[in-house]
């Protein structure tokens, strides 16, 4: 017999199916928010994402797309309420000198050095993107969403996802001094 969860014992509590959604997606949502706002803030905002999702789940339309995209849309809206904190984070990341790898194979050290040297430019490039471009770029980079999922999460046309992503990546590459075709 399955043991009763705490939620089962709460009158009007959380339905079992939503508990499954939480367990399946919380870490992904947390990782996305932590990447944008930092880990401490992510603990609260990731939980808020699911509290809001639970409140709204009656209005969720499965026909419009997967629940994962819907959750990332809620998370992105919450992140938007912390734009200044996000900008501060990027500025801080651009200033912090990453720890050097302690010895190791020469190739690995060289690739780490190349990435570390780009850190300030990368952080500044992210801070300078428009909010819309940054949302799309980071939903790809941190959440691994497809273009269709991003379209559903942000309620924007599919074509707009591609154009914003392309612009964002070009700007970042230009800031890093890279040229050439962008590989999808």
């Amino acid at each position: 017999m399955r043991a009763r969860s705490r939620a089962d014992c709460v009158p009007g509590g959380v339905p079992a199916s939503f508990t499954g959604v939480y367990e399946q997606f919380f870490a992904d949502i947390h990782r996305y928010i932590a990447g944008r706002l930092g880990r401490d803030v992510a603990d609260d905002i990731a939980a808020d994402t699911f509290v809001i999702a639970l409140r709204k789940h009656g209005s969720f339309d499965a026909g419009r797309g997967p629940v994962r995209a819907w959750l990332f849309g809620i998370a992105t809206n919450l992140v938007a309420q912390h734009r200044r904190a996000e900008q501060r984070r990027y500025r801080a990341l651009g200033r912090v000198r990453a720890e050097e790898p302690a010895g190791g194979h020469e190739d690995r050290v060289l690739s780490w050095v190349a990435a570390a040297q780009m850190r300030p430019q990368l952080a500044r490039a992210l801070a300078r993107l428009s909010p819309e471009e940054r949302d799309v770029l980071l939903l790809v980079a941190l959440a691994d969403l497809s273009h269709e999922e991003i379209s559903q999460a942000l309620a924007i046309p599919y074509g707009t996802v591609g154009s914003r992503l392309n612009r964002a990546r070009k700007k970042v590459r230009a800031a890093l001094g890279q040229k050439g075709q962008i590989d999808e």
């Binding site: 199916s17 639970l54 339309d61 990368l122 691994d144």
Partner: protein, 316 residues
């Protein structure tokens, strides 16, 4: 490394701890948003509970309860949840210098007469560039140059009364290249699945086998180890065996595949049911349809001890 990989490297954070995950559950049950309050009294939510929309979305049901002492989380434990717990446990481990010597004591069992059961002590650096064993006379013997061949040492044969290294396992990714691996679990799954030939089976099977090799052979940076566990949880057909037993007779929780791999055996990656740290790997021969009894262990390696030490030949 393209700009997306660089962004991940710049922004990636550790996965949430079990404590954070648990606090989130409490907040959802309380319907409370805003900053965490450690000793807040729960507020009963007044929300409509029609669950049909989320059920239709294909949500996975999980009974998130703590099981009785000595057992893993009771009820149904999904591979995703186990992966997150193992990832959180891995992320909390201290960084290990690539050149750090690690003492390993393994129990290995097979069904073949050529390789009987044995307990082996050996030492490797975290990056497997060097390996050493100690003879019955107490002399330290070294193998070196493994990284240039993309190999890691595997104890196979007895030499001078001690199990030593005469087998080498070619790993699909050199330690030096770990930093360039994709960082998101999905991208890591896709990348790893392409490294072994398709003759070994579906891409999910190949991913599982590579992850098992990498987790066992290397002492990877904690964050990367965590990503491997997260990738493991996303493999198609992955499931959980909450009654796994390693070749040392210890009970654990295992990642396993629903269907046997190409050779008709079922591989398992077994973690400690309390700490969620890697405990063992095993290969099972599934039951014949219609027959009773558990699957038979065809081969397995139980990690009895794995500890950083100051040098080869030094025991903890």
């Amino acid at each position: 490394m393209n700009e997306l990989d660089m962004i991940r490297t710049l922004l990636d954070e550790e996965p949430p701890s079990a404590e954070v995950i648990g606090e989130g559950r409490q907040r959802i049950a309380a319907g409370r948003t805003g900053p965490r309050r450690r000793r807040a009294r729960p507020v009963l939510p007044a929300v409509g509970l029609a669950a049909a929309a989320l059920v239709a979305a294909g949500a996975t049901t999980l009974a998130a309860t703590a099981g009785p002492p000595g057992s893993p989380a009771g009820g149904t434990l999904t591979a995703t949840e186990l992966a997150y717990r193992a990832a959180a446990a891995a992320a909390r481990q201290p960084e290990v210098h690539p050149g750090q010597w690690v003492y390993r004591k393994y129990l290995t069992k097979t069904l073949t007469k050529e390789f009987p059961s044995r307990t082996t002590e050996f030492w490797t650096t975290a990056d497997s560039l060097k390996a050493a064993w100690v003879s019955a006379r107490g002399r330290v013997h070294f193998f070196s140059g493994l990284a240039s061949l993309g190999l890691t040492a595997v104890p196979v044969k007895k030499v001078h009364g001690t199990w030593a290294f005469f087998g080498f396992l070619r790993l699909p990714v050199k330690y030096a290249d770990l930093g360039s691996l994709p960082r998101s679990p999905k991208a890591l799954d896709r990348y790893l699945g392409r490294l072994l030939p398709s003759s070994l089976g579906p891409v999910g099977d190949r991913e599982f086998l590579i992850i098992e090799e990498m987790l066992t052979a290397y002492e990877m940076p904690p964050a990367l180890t965590a990503e491997f566990y997260r990738a493991l949880g996303g493999i198609p057909g992955i499931t959980v065996d909450t009654h796994a037993v390693d070749v040392a007779g210890r009970h654990g929780v295992a990642f396993t595949l629903k269907k046997p791999v190409a050779l008709g055996v079922t591989p398992e990656i077994i973690v400690n049911p309390r700490t969620y740290q890697l405990m063992a790997s095993e290969v099972l021969i599934p039951r014949t349809p219609g027959s009773a009894g558990p699957a038979v262990s065809a081969a397995g390696t139980a990690i009895l001890q794995k500890v950083p030490v100051s040098g080869p030949g030094i025991r903890p």
